[in-house]
Symmetry: C2
Subunit: 249 residues, 2 copies
């Protein structure tokens, strides 16, 4: 494990660090991270949010910040962007939304370190990190740099997602990171025409994973068109589940 840069350990000392991960893409990690950050800020908590998905950044769109750049204080320091009471930074604040970041692993880590060291986060109570999919360079670096952090897992109920999500869980266990719990997203769909429920992505996978890992299921979020619409237009819908989650974190 690389030694922490002195500046870094001061900035985040005493801050509750929560990584939101899954291993599988498209299960709602960014949606949960953004809504959770907004929910915490609404309760008066000082919260920072790092979009650590350098290739697949999506936090700027979810929070309606597509054309906002961070303020440059000097050549080594940036001020994070603020929205809904949340301080945040993302690769999407430096690029057009459709621009590919065609980097190999080491450059990703340099960028993550800059987001951690060169951004003036100020005083924080919580620091949320929206992890990319997979169990590679970025999640590994984050878990090594923040041994005190916790992991919040997000999964959808089907087997494919649950098994890929458990890889991130096992990675956390190997690097001694505590798992706070699991959020099951897209748990069921209520038809707007007839009100009947369909479990499009099945059920039961999350329970099995929770009992295998010995962690609680902190919330279940149904498939809601308003949640998807909110993500597309940049107005995060505080789905009821994350609110109850913020109490649990």
């Amino acid at each position: 494990v690389e030694p922490l840069k002195l500046g870094m350990s001061d900035v985040f000392a005493g801050v509750k660090i929560l990584a939101i991960g899954s291993g599988k893409g498209g299960v709602g990690k960014s949606t949960v991270s953004a809504n959770l950050a907004v929910a915490l800020a609404a309760e008066g908590v000082k919260v920072g949010l790092l979009d650590a998905d350098i290739y697949g950044f999506s936090i700027p769109r979810i929070l309606g910040l597509l054309d906002v750049q961070p303020t440059v204080l000097d050549e080594n320091t940036l001020l994070p962007i603020q929205a809904y009471g949340v301080k945040l930074i993302s690769m999407g604040n430096f690029l057009q939304e459709d621009t590919p970041v065609i980097w190999r692993g080491p450059l990703l880590i340099k960028m993550i370190e800059q987001f951690l060291n060169d951004v003036d986060w100020g005083e924080l109570d919580y620091f949320l990190i929206d992890l990319p999919p997979g169990t590679g360079d970025v999640p590994l670096t984050i878990m090594q740099k923040f041994p005190e952090s916790r992991l919040l897992l997000v999964t959808t109920p089907q087997e494919t997602s649950v098994h890929v999500a458990s890889r991130t869980a096992h990675m956390a266990q190997k690097t001694n990171i505590r798992i706070t719990g699991i959020i099951e997203n897209m748990a069921y769909f209520v038809c707007p025409h007839c009100g009947e429920r369909t479990e499009i992505f099945g059920h039961g996978g999350t329970e099995r994973m929770a009992s295998e890992l010995g962690v609680p299921i902190l919330g279940r979020i149904p498939i809601e068109v308003s949640l998807r619409e909110g993500g597309d237009i940049g107005r995060p819908v505080l789905a009821t589940a994350p609110q109850s989650t913020s109490a649990q974190v």
Copy 2:
């Protein structure tokens, strides 16, 4: 670009190489890759399938091959696994499904090269590559090693997915890889109770992307519970769309 190993360029000379990508995870890349491979094989085509998602491998589950290992011919050569007439290889054939692959970039590439060089693929007409999410090490290496390959994009209709998928499209354009077209997945949901349609993930994003890139939409796949179930239990459902797609490829 690293020089191709001599053996490699011989093996894939004259083979039609199709990478299936999206940038965004969870949109159905693996589901489309597996179904497309099975559809091509059903038409008598000799097809190979590489699961290039080393961290998030899911092809073994989708094709019902969880406990199958490739046959070792000698210390440098493996025989690919065969199912449904498709020759395939995946990280999932070497590990338990829940085991995390905690590697940094360079090891990923070593593994991809072994899958390309040390597997005895035999005679092939088509070689399908199921890309991981993102625009990093693996897609970059594949596009550099196979300049003649084509890219099939998979997206779901909502803005977030379309913008992340376009990053992979722009990456392909930068590396002079032709895009064959786009498959729109999870296009709409038909309620099993009342038969009404809901566009859970919106509509219109794919058309905009197709016209911006100047490529056709090759097929639309609705959200179908049977497709998800087939993926969970390892019996690929030949959704009607990929069949019409195999004609287009």
